[in-house]
């Protein structure tokens, strides 16, 4: 698991969709296994020791260590130990655990870039404090040989430090200049380098002013801003990768001798792949044997499960519900629907790159302005002093140092860190750096239905219409199946205090329903066609007792908690809300009425959804798209900013800027408010640093700036900006 694997998640957007299967194969080589489990419910010291004790007590486990910050445990174990067994061990002691794909999370296991910046911060902080100490002595009146000595010692500390610590700025500035552009790193690098060079020259000439402390504190503060920026992104990335890693891309392949578990990348066209009930279809294919029902809601938005039997096509991403299926693979790798998702995502990424962040817009005005100002000061003083290059250069350097975007470098990261931290605690993961700014501008919201406003989990609606005996028979049959409708009925029945009837010989007929015997009569609970009923518009399962006419149990999709509050909150903020779903008009109209959404559209194809979003954008609206399925991906990509729940399909999550980690939707309106507040703080921070410049630049221009004034202006503006950012919390 080398460096090339660490590069992978960043290499292309599609890689997050089709996680590195070769890496997985690597990890499965017969050596000591390193397994990662996600522990979402762990939260205390007692949990840590309970989990570690249980795992270390398991046979074959060498060492287990919990990381509470990331809520996961790393286990080193003999190759024979499987993640499933460890998950079982943890579930037995009451902790929810999920296997994580080691290939996908490896990149964030060690945060190399973050450590690198921390190291540079430490070095520049150490140097800054020591040089500042010497500078205070100079400012308070050290003169002649003492001052020169102090300057030389400062130079000795400062120059190597700058060479090491300011490297990221120099490197960025160089890369940008080579492409003939300007960014914030150019004035930063110029100020640091010129300040150090000029001070060295002045020291050699026994001059009174040296700016070593300014060069170092500039480096220190700007590195701090850089680190905050990096932290925010790293936290978001590791959480996003954890979501991706939760779905380990494996498939069960049938071979001559039985079956084997292989990474999806090794599946070829013509292979026969087994899909167990409850599992997601790994590749595209045609059912070869078996009967079942499949849940297509993630792909099409249909809330009704569809029948699947031999000869029917399945696409990757659908969920098999009741019976085991064997399918012949028709498309794998590049041709499969996974690849189509990757294409959609690539489009999404390129459209997002068109947005320029506030910081970039500021830099575009700021960088040339600062350079022109310093040049003007240099030329003006050259003319006034009659050719004194040293004086003119000194003043130009002072202008550069004082206008250096120290506060600007902190203005954006400090605010985004505070705001994303606040949103993260409420269960919203900001994946993209500019997502907050874009979210603040939103004035229209488009919702998907199934899986977004609803949980995609049905709930019985007409239990009261049936006689108690029918309910008890239905409950007995429903408890024999893992089908979502049956499970929903069983749960509702138990909640209502019903006891299942004594039904014997219960057996599931995959794809159709459950049958059994009750009081000498055959009883059946399942699809309309199977029991001889006429299926209606609503989602329903039918109960047939003996030869009597079947009775229908209707179901409606359960509302996601907080959906009402979210819609009401967004409307209260002045946003227009629209519902666009791929589902039938009946359920969509129902839900729209329940949530008070006047504007809805049903039976929308993926293209229709994207077209809706694009039409709104053309009217000058900035659209927030909230969706979870493959059918939403194009719309998510087309929207100004997009949110998807954690239960969404990979492609949708990758295409969206913000991921909702919890089940609750009510945080949405709060997120918009926080984003608006954060953008306001960013603008305020720009204003604050502009104000400081307005006061300090004239002083520098007339040649009155001293190193002390520069140090004061810099620290004061940086601290004000950081404190202002904290108000977002």
């Amino acid at each position: 698991m080398g460096a090339e694997m660490q590069m992978r998640p960043a290499a292309c957007p599609a890689c997050a969709v089709a996680p590195s299967a070769e890496a997985l194969a690597d990890a499965e080589a017969p050596k000591d296994a390193r397994l990662f489990l996600s522990l979402p419910t762990i939260h205390c010291a007692a949990c840590i020791s309970a989990v570690e004790r249980a795992l270390n007590g398991t046979e074959g486990v060498r060492n287990a260590r919990v990381n509470l910050t990331l809520k996961r445990v790393a286990v080193e174990a003999e190759p024979a130990v499987t993640a499933d067994r460890l998950v079982g061990v943890l579930e037995a002691i009451g902790y929810e655990a999920h296997e994580l794909d080691p290939g996908v999370i490896a990149a964030t296991a060690t945060d190399k870039a973050g450590r690198d910046i921390l190291m540079r911060i430490a070095v520049s902080g150490f140097a800054m404090m020591n040089v500042m100490l010497l500078s205070v002595a100079v400012w308070s009146g050290a003169a002649d040989a003492t001052r020169d000595l102090f300057h030389w010692v400062s130079a000795m500390i400062a120059l190597p430090t700058i060479v090491f610590a300011a490297q990221p700025f120099f490197r960025n500035a160089f890369a940008v200049l080579r492409h003939g552009r300007l960014n914030m790193d150019v004035p930063i690098s110029l100020a640091i380098a010129l300040a150090a060079g000029m001070s060295l020259y002045e020291t050699a000439r026994h001059g009174p002013h040296a700016y070593f402390d300014a060069a170092l504190s500039l480096t220190f503060f700007l590195l701090a801003g850089r680190y905050l920026d990096h932290r925010t992104r790293a936290v978001a990335r590791s959480a996003a990768e954890e979501l991706a890693a939760l779905e380990v891309p494996r498939a069960q392949r049938r071979t001559a001798s039985g079956e084997e578990t292989v990474p999806i990348a090794e599946i070829a066209v013509g292979d026969v792949v087994l899909v167990r009930p409850g599992a997601r279809v790994p590749v595209d294919g045609i059912v070869a044997e078996g009967q079942s029902e499949i849940d297509r809601s993630l792909l099409t938005g249909e809330s009704l499960p569809a029948f699947a039997g031999p000869g029917m096509a399945l696409s990757a991403g659908e969920v098999n519900l009741t019976g085991p299926l064997a399918m012949t693979v028709t498309a794998a790798g590049q041709d499969s629907s996974l690849h189509r998702m990757a294409d959609l995502v690539a489009i999404a990424e390129s459209s997002k790159n068109r947005y320029t962040s506030l910081a970039d817009r500021a830099a575009r005005i700021y960088a040339p302005g600062v350079h022109l100002l310093a040049l003007a000061a240099f030329l003006a003083w050259l003319w006034i002093s009659g050719g004194d290059i040293r004086l003119a250069l000194n003043i130009a350097v002072a202008v550069l140092i004082i206008t250096c975007p120290c506060a600007l470098g902190l203005a954006v990261p400090a605010v985004t860190t505070a705001a994303s931290g606040r949103l993260f605690r409420r269960g919203l993961l900001i994946k993209d750096g500019t997502a907050l700014e874009r979210l603040a501008e939103v004035d229209a919201v488009v919702f998907d239905k199934t899986g977004t406003l609803t949980l995609g989990a049905p709930e019985p609606t007409n239990l009261g219409d049936h006689p108690r005996r029918d309910l008890e028979i239905a409950l007995a049959l429903a408890e024999g199946s893992a089908h979502p409708l049956a499970r929903a009925l069983a749960e509702a029945g138990r909640k209502a205090g019903l006891h299942p009837a004594r039904v014997s010989d219960i057996r599931e007929v995959p794809g159709y329903g459950i049958e059994g015997a009750f009081g000498g009569e055959r009883v059946r609970f399942g699809r309309a066609a199977w029991v001889g009923a006429q299926s209606g518009a609503e989602t329903a399962s039918w109960l047939q007792v003996g030869a009597r006419a079947p009775v229908g149990f209707t179901f409606a999709d359960r509302l996601r908690p907080g959906a009402e509050a979210a819609v009401a909150g967004l409307v209260a903020l002045g946003l227009s809300v629209r519902l666009v779903s791929g589902d039938a008009p009946g359920p969509v109209a129902d839900l729209a009425a329940r949530l008070g959404i006047a504007d809805w559209q049903a039976e929308a194809l993926p293209e229709d959804k994207a077209a809706t979003v694009q039409a709104l954008s053309r009217d000058g609206r900035r659209v927030l798209m909230v969706g979870d399925g493959l059918n939403d991906t194009a719309a998510l990509a087309a929207a100004h900013v997009s949110i998807s729940p954690a239960s969404a399909l990979d492609a949708a999550r990758v295409a969206s800027d913000i991921v909702l980690l919890g089940k609750d939707l009510s945080t949405l309106s709060g997120a918009v408010t926080t984003a608006r507040k954060a953008t306001r703080r960013i603008r305020e921070n720009f204003a604050i640093s502009a104000l400081y410049n307005l006061i300090a630049v004239p002083i520098a221009l007339v040649g009155l700036a001293t190193p002390l004034a520069a140090a004061l202006a810099m620290s004061a503006s940086s601290i004000t900006v950081s404190l202002n950012a904290l108000r977002v919390r």
């Binding site: 205390c44 010291a45 840590i48 020791s49 004790r53 919990v66 990381n67 509470l68 910050t69 990331l70 060690t110 450590r115 921390l118 190291m119 430490a122 070095v123 150490f126 404090m129 020591n130 100490l133 010497l134 003492t146 000595l149 010692v153 500390i157």
Partner: protein, 52 residues
């Protein structure tokens, strides 16, 4: 004023010591799980003797 000749190197050395300690901590993965480490001190395992 000769005292400066001693004091400046001493202060640099002590500061450098701190910097070195920070580097060691960074390399030894001390900052990887700040939340967990803060809670682990409340843990009663190995209070009586060190972990073998």
């Amino acid at each position: 004023m000769q005292i400066i000749a001693y004091l400046i190197p001493i202060s640099l050395f002590l500061g450098g010591l701190g910097l070195g300690a920070f580097f060691w901590a960074l390399r030894a993965h001390q900052f990887e799980d700040p939340e967990g480490d803060a809670r682990r001190i409340l843990n009663e395992d190995w209070d009586d003797r060190p972990k073998p």
